[in-house]
């Protein structure tokens, strides 16, 4: 153990904006790290540009720098804060890259900084594919066989090949997917004779193909004394060929015999030793169960998405323990925080099963459904159950997607067969549909690579579900609940509402049983209340607490409902506890801080459906539930909760009022009656009515469906072709059609209130024109934004709305300004995505104030003194979606955001440039005319010249475009990660051509 923690000044690197492949899991890891460092009395400094995370909350570190994560900023902080230790292993690849750069450029040595984590040599070893391979072979680790086939000896070389099928890599591409799979000798001869007939092809490396094998992961923790343990193993249900982040994963492994598991475990610990791991490490294997062989594929020398999942699956907080280790503690000196009374040097055991299902942005990028070796998913759900089946189905319920058509069995077999035959983001649902339709297990196995045992278990369930659909559900309810079938699935197949089924269960006294996760299968008594539910078992929790408030989390990370809500949930829990009340958290997202077991008084890791929420309400007799921090999820559930438990069970704005604001047509009617302007609108309930409405108001229009997360099925329709396309895709339901107002400015106003007492938290102005989703626009805030009259008008409007709907707690108003008039877009009776940014910029704990408003009706006025300006800068995943439509619009598609603060507007623009990694030069395309601005001079260029200039300067040279729709060029840029800015306002803003009104 180190004694000099008092003099330690540690820089923790954060992971920046949420992007696909590097997301909320690092919010979780980084926040844990900071908390442990501070608890050890270490002066903790954080660098992270992400405002949405709890990690950049003032309570997390001693000093927080919300700015671009780059070498220059890191060095500046190191100098200013006299840093002598660095933690970089909690921030994904970003952290390791910064560390290596600081190391290579001599900063680490110059300032005598201790690298608190795996040393650069170890990191390099893990990252360099051929070096890794070589080291593994030296240490007798199983790696896939490989061989070089040469032009002059290829026939003899082939004689010696004993590992069919193999991959012949014809080019060295990232991720190694552009290879050809060769199955036998005959194919090999044909392939090589043609390959070597081409001039210049002299040799080729071949490697055993691992496609189709079972993919396994091992989570390892290792300390300075060389003690190493495996926290858990994870079995990917989708076979090799599907990225582990895209695969359904079960913990612990189910189909791996013990001797294979033990040998992989041993090699994983050995690999951690070879890589000189200090802290956490993840090792991946491909297993051929039938041949009893396995191969090490890769190792990550840091915390990862998998370590977050493993922490939640086992209750063993990997990042926390890893932080103790990098502070010099041995595993034997650390207590297991979950039991409180055993050592951290042990391997957790589970008496339950967890299943993770990835969440894909399928409604946002409907053009790209195929999955494979690259990540597309933006989040994940985890189901915990007392059987694999229960865990799997709870993970399905946690997705918050209606999969009724897959469970009902009315889908054509042809469609099912086609969709299970290649990896895609709905394959798990099609597999269920295949089982429901009684397709052969062997056939499904052959098409999907899913284990037959797993399929047989699921078949059990689909048989039961079939019986519920066709038979008497009520009589067999006990059987279904024992088998782990959630109410919502029963609701999908029977057409009975969730409320009906809930009432049915209450009538039969079939309530969930509360079980504890203790990391030891009950072997040791645990003090922590990390809980989940099952049915027809004993409750692990009997003691009661006074005055309990249930907080609903926001579920899996999705585009438009992500980390921001988790930030608010965590802040809400902290405020409730500060008030001396007990906070109970329910959430289904393994990647977040809110599902860390020591945040709330009780944590329920459960799907956010009526069943599980009401289970807690009943079992724990809570005083009320707060749904304002759960994004759209709670808004959608509020009226069902009220139907069962009464309106007063939902704290804050009542379910009835929520309903009144969520129903666009009702709400628009309210605005009309109160003379509040809005774009002209019509309601519609059929395709015919939509057409009729459009004819009446004329194009362009915005069409949306009600109850939306991030604007699903919202489209701007500019011409009749687009209208036709929309109508073809539109399902039955309620629609709201409004006139699209061009060239308007859009604003986001967040406030807290108690009916007529109102306090505005902040107003952000979008730089892009109205019509671009608020999550996708660069938004700014600061002195003089917006103009006084706009603020006054906004205040008048929210007073009217809040007074009418008797709002209590958070509210968020979106509105437009055009030609001196204000038009309302929408109103949400909940905390919005912008709450974290505004809290960080104003330095005020708005969530805390909101909680006091909800619980006590208190609105304590405080003068908001803001200094300078801030910008919220979204990041987009377009580079991963090749077939996407690359236009910003009302459908949100950014995955995360960075925040920049500055003293004046010019400085703010500069900070945005730094965040985007661009200089002052740019290319602009106005109506097909291209201009290349460099060194302050504009030069007309052709489109071809423009492409070649972009090719030359790459990501440093941004591309602006307005009054033009050059999709190909946008794609060209996105695929190369060249920053793209769309619209006239952003062009003028970024190039200091826009006059921001009223700024003093």
């Amino acid at each position: 153990m180190q004694s000099e923690t008092e003099n330690k000044r540690v820089l923790v690197i954060g992971s920046g904006p949420v992007v696909i492949g590097q997301a909320a899991e690092f919010d979780y890891a980084g926040s844990q790290a900071c908390r442990i460092l501070r608890s050890l009395g270490i002066y903790t400094v954080l660098l992270n540009s992400n405002p949405a995370t709890i990690q950049t909350d003032e309570e997390t570190a001693d000093r927080i720098y919300v700015m671009t994560i780059n070498f220059e900023n890191a060095v500046r902080i190191i100098e200013k804060e006299k840093i002598n230790g660095i933690v970089a292993g909690m921030a994904g690849q970003t952290g390791l890259n910064i560390l290596l750069e600081l190391y290579d450029r001599g900063i680490i040595e110059k300032y005598g900084i201790e690298i608190m984590g795996t040393p650069p040599e170890g990191i390099r070893l893990a990252e360099d594919r051929s070096l890794f391979h070589q080291k593994m072979v030296e240490n007798s680790i199983n790696v896939p066989e490989s061989m070089v086939i040469r032009v002059d000896s290829w026939k003899d070389d082939l004689e010696r090949v004993e590992f069919y099928p193999f991959i012949a890599r014809t080019s060295f591409s990232l991720g190694g997917n552009s290879g050809r799979v060769i199955r036998n000798r005959e194919e090999a001869e044909r392939f090589f004779s043609s390959f070597f007939s081409i001039e210049g092809n002299n040799q080729l490396e071949i490697e055993r193909s691992l496609l189709g094998l079972t993919e396994m992961e091992y989570e390892v923790i290792r300390d300075d004394s060389g003690n190493a343990i495996m926290v858990c193993n994870m079995e990917n249900i989708d076979p090799m060929g599907v990225h582990t982040g895209e695969s359904i994963v079960v913990t612990p492994s189910l189909t791996i015999p013990d001797h294979l598991h033990q040998e992989m475990r041993r090699q994983a610990l050995k690999i951690a030793e070879i890589l000189m791991i200090r802290g956490a490490c993840n090792v991946q294997f491909a297993v051929d169960i039938d041949r009893e062989r396995f191969y090490a594929i890769e190792a990550n020398p840091r915390t990862s998405r998998s370590s977050a999942l493993a922490s939640k699956a086992t209750g063993y907080p990997i990042a926390k323990i890893a932080t103790f280790i990098v502070c010099g503690y041995a595993l034997t000196e650390i207590r297991n925080p979950i039991t409180g009374n055993t050592s951290a040097a042990f391997e957790p055991s589970q008496d339950y099963v967890t299943v993770k299902i990835p969440v894909w942005p399928s409604t946002k990028f409907p053009e790209d459904t195929e999955i494979g070796i690259a990540m597309h998913s933006v989040g994940e759900t985890m189901g915990i159950g007392r059987s694999f089946e229960e865990a799997f189905l709870k993970a399905v319920a946690s997705l918050e997607i209606n999969l009724g058509k897959f469970f009902r069995g009315d889908m054509p077999v042809e469609e099912i067969r086609e969709n299970i035959s290649f990896p895609n983001n709905m394959r798990y649902a099609y597999i269920i549909a295949a089982l429901v339709r009684n397709m052969g297990i062997h056939d499904i196995h052959n098409r999907t690579g899913w284990s037959e045992e797993i399929l047989l278990k699921l078949k059990n369930i689909t048989d039961l579900i079939n019986s519920a659909r066709t038979g008497n559900m009520e009589d067999n309810l006990e059987k279904y609940k024992r088998a782990g079938i959630p109410d919502i699935i029963l609701s999908w197949v029977t057409g009975r509402s969730e409320v009906d089924i809930l009432k049915m269960r209450i009538g039969k006294n079939l309530l969930p049983s509360i079980r504890k996760i203790d990391s030891s299968s009950g072997e040791y008594n645990s003090v922590t209340k990390y809980l989940y539910s099952t049915y027809l078992e004993e409750d692990d929790l009997s003691e009661d607490m006074e005055r309990k408030i249930l907080i609903m989390g926001s579920g899996p990370n999705r585009i438009a409902q992500g980390l921001e809500f988790d930030y608010s949930s965590v802040k809400a829990v902290r405020e409730i506890r500060k008030m001396g009340l007990n906070a109970i958290m329910i959430n289904s997202n393994p990647e977040t801080v809110s599902t860390d077991f020591d945040i709330s008084n009780e944590l329920y890791f459960e799907p956010l459906t009526l069943e599980y929420v009401s289970g807690i309400i009943q079992k724990r007799k809570v005083s009320g539930i707060i749904v304002q921090f759960s994004g759209q999820t709670g808004q959608n559930m509020a009226s069902s909760i009220a139907e069962v438990f009464g309106e007063s069970m939902v704290l804050g704005t009542s379910p009835k009022s929520i309903q009144g604001m969520e129903d666009r047509n009702l709400f628009s009617e309210f605005l009309r009656q109160n003379n509040i302007l809005q774009a002209s609108w019509e309601g519609a309930e059929s395709r015919g009515q939509i057409e009729e409405a459009v004819r009446k108001m004329g194009l362009p229009v915005i069409i949306r469906s009600g109850f939306i997360i991030g604007g699903s099925m919202i489209r701007i329709i500019r011409n009749s072709m687009e209208l036709e396309k929309y109508l073809n895709e539109a399902p039955e339901g309620k629609y709201h059609i409004s006139r699209f107002m061009e060239d308007a400015r859009e604003f986001d106003l967040d406030f807290i209130c108690n009916v007529d007492q109102i306090e505005i938290c902040g107003i952000m102005e979008h730089i892009e024109e109205a019509g671009v989703h608020s999550g996708d626009a660069i938004s700014i805030m600061g002195k003089g934004i917006p103009e006084k009259w706009i603020e006054a008008e906004g205040r008048r409007i929210i007073s009217l709305i809040s007074g009418h709907f008797k709002m209590k707690g958070f509210g968020n108003l979106q509105f437009m300004e055009k030609d001196g008039r204000i038009y309302v877009i929408e109103m949400n009776a909940r905390a919005s995505r912008t709450v974290p940014v505004i809290s960080k910029f104003t330095g005020i704990n708005w969530v805390g104030k909101g909680i006091r408003a909800i619980l006590n009706g208190e609105i304590d006025r405080e003068d908001v003194h803001i200094k300078g300006y801030c910008a919220k800068i979204p990041v987009f995943p377009f580079d991963r979606f090749e077939n996407s439509i690359y236009a910003l619009g009302p459908e949100m598609r950014s995955t995360g955001e960075a925040m920049a603060t500055a003293r004046d507007m010019e400085d703010l623009v500069e900070k945005i440039r730094v965040e985007k990694g661009i200089g002052r030069d740019y290319i602009v395309n106005i109506n097909g005319e291209f201009t290349y601005f460099h060194g302050g001079i504009g030069e007309k260029v052709s489109r071809e010249q423009c492409i070649s200039i972009m090719g030359k300067y790459g990501r440093k040279l941004p591309y602006f475009e307005y009054d033009s729709h050059d999709m190909d060029l946008r794609k060209f840029c996105y695929m190369r990660r060249i920053p793209v800015f769309q619209g006239k306002r952003i062009f003028e803003f970024m190039n200091n051509r826009m006059e921001i009104k009223n700024i003093v």
Partner: protein, 348 residues
């Protein structure tokens, strides 16, 4: 079909039947391992015990992929949570095998409640029965009977002709343990009642794992052998054998509240830790070790159980955990190597 697990304190658990339709009683123990079930079920140390799997979703792979530890299932009965119904090849195969071998099973049980019960009320007897009004007894089988039942019926010699001669006292060994030891020399496997000639003919005396109570007087003959061998012939043992060696040389034994059964226990040698495989309800009393000729070499990190004891100069070493793994990690601290080195130590 309904089936019951009845406990001697009157508590009962309801579930569904699998395996053989016979009534079996035994001491309830739970194991926390989530894999290696067949290895555990065939471990003779479980004779006389009803085995509860704390991990619910088991039998997902086919049992023949596990390394069988004896010629059949040795536990009296099996209790599992899993499944609305028995399906899957793994479960069906186990079901068939248990029917064939006369081992009853019960599934659909709230095993977590059962585990907590065993944890809190200590060693408790139970019976698996189809009769809710079971009126039979909950008597424990005698240790000697248990050992006779699972031990070798005749003398066996393995690896005949190898230079080192080993006397392997088999009180119900796991086959992987025997495999590891017999690789070191010509191994004479002797059961509890076997005639044992001169111990001086051997280069190593090894005491295996086994079922029952290690303090049973029926084992005194073996304790005599160990005392005679101390300082003359190397002695080593595992689990039950470790306890017998300890009790032979002055240490006392104690019954643990609910024992260790799992593959996740950390053992420390004072410098490093190792994760080890455990299956025992008794242990050497740590305090009593000072009255013996042995010293503690490794201990359990959580409860201080003596995990390795020995006296290298006198040629003695034994471990409480299972260095052969199966299920669990294999020989993390090099016990077998240490055993091989014993003869050298004593000769010098």
């Amino acid at each position: 079909m309904r089936r019951y697990l009845l406990l001697e304190d009157g508590d009962s658990f309801e579930g569904k039947a699998f395996g053989a339709s016979v009534e079996k009683s035994g001491e309830l123990i739970f194991t926390t391992s989530s894999s290696g079930y067949y290895e555990a079920m065939t471990d003779p140390s479980y004779a006389g015990q009803i085995m509860v799997f704390a991990f619910p979703s088991i039998f997902y792979y086919e049992f023949w992929k596990d390394n069988q530890q004896s010629n059949g299932i040795k536990a009296e009965g099996i209790v599992v949570r899993d499944a609305p119904d028995i399906t899957g090849r793994g479960f069906l195969a186990i079901d068939g095998m248990m029917k064939h071998q006369g081992i009853p099973g019960i599934y659909g049980v709230d095993t977590r409640r059962l585990v907590k019960k065993i944890r809190d009320s200590g060693n408790i007897m139970g019976v698996i029965t189809d009769d809710l009004n079971y009126s039979g007894s909950f008597e424990r089988k005698s240790t000697v009977d248990l050992i006779r039942n699972v031990g070798p019926k005749s003398e066996i010699v393995l690896n005949r002709g190898m230079e080192n001669k080993i006397l392997f006292i088999d009180l119900g060994t796991k086959s992987d343990l025997l495999r590891q030891i017999s690789a070191m020399g010509e191994t004479h496997v002797a059961g509890l009642d076997a005639r044992i000639g001169s111990i001086y003919d051997y280069d190593l005396i090894f005491i295996s794992n086994g079922p029952g109570d290690p303090s049973d007087p029926g084992l005194n003959r073996i304790r005599d052998i160990i005392r005679k061998a101390e300082g003359n012939v190397p002695v080593a043992g595992v689990c039950f054998g470790h306890q017998i060696i300890g009790s032979s040389l002055g240490a006392e034994l104690e019954r643990m509240p609910y024992g260790h059964h799992g593959i996740n226990h950390a053992v420390s040698d004072g410098r490093k830790i190792f994760i080890t495989s455990h299956n025992h309800n008794f242990r050497i009393s740590r305090d009593s070790l000072k009255n013996s000729s042995l010293i503690e070499m490794q201990h359990d990190l959580n409860d201080g159980t003596v995990e390795m004891a020995g006296n290298i100069e006198n040629g003695i070493i034994s471990v409480q955990y299972h260095p052969e793994g199966s299920p669990g990690p294999k020989d993390p601290a090099g016990f077998f190597k240490a055993v091989e080195g014993l003869s050298n130590a004593i000769r010098n």
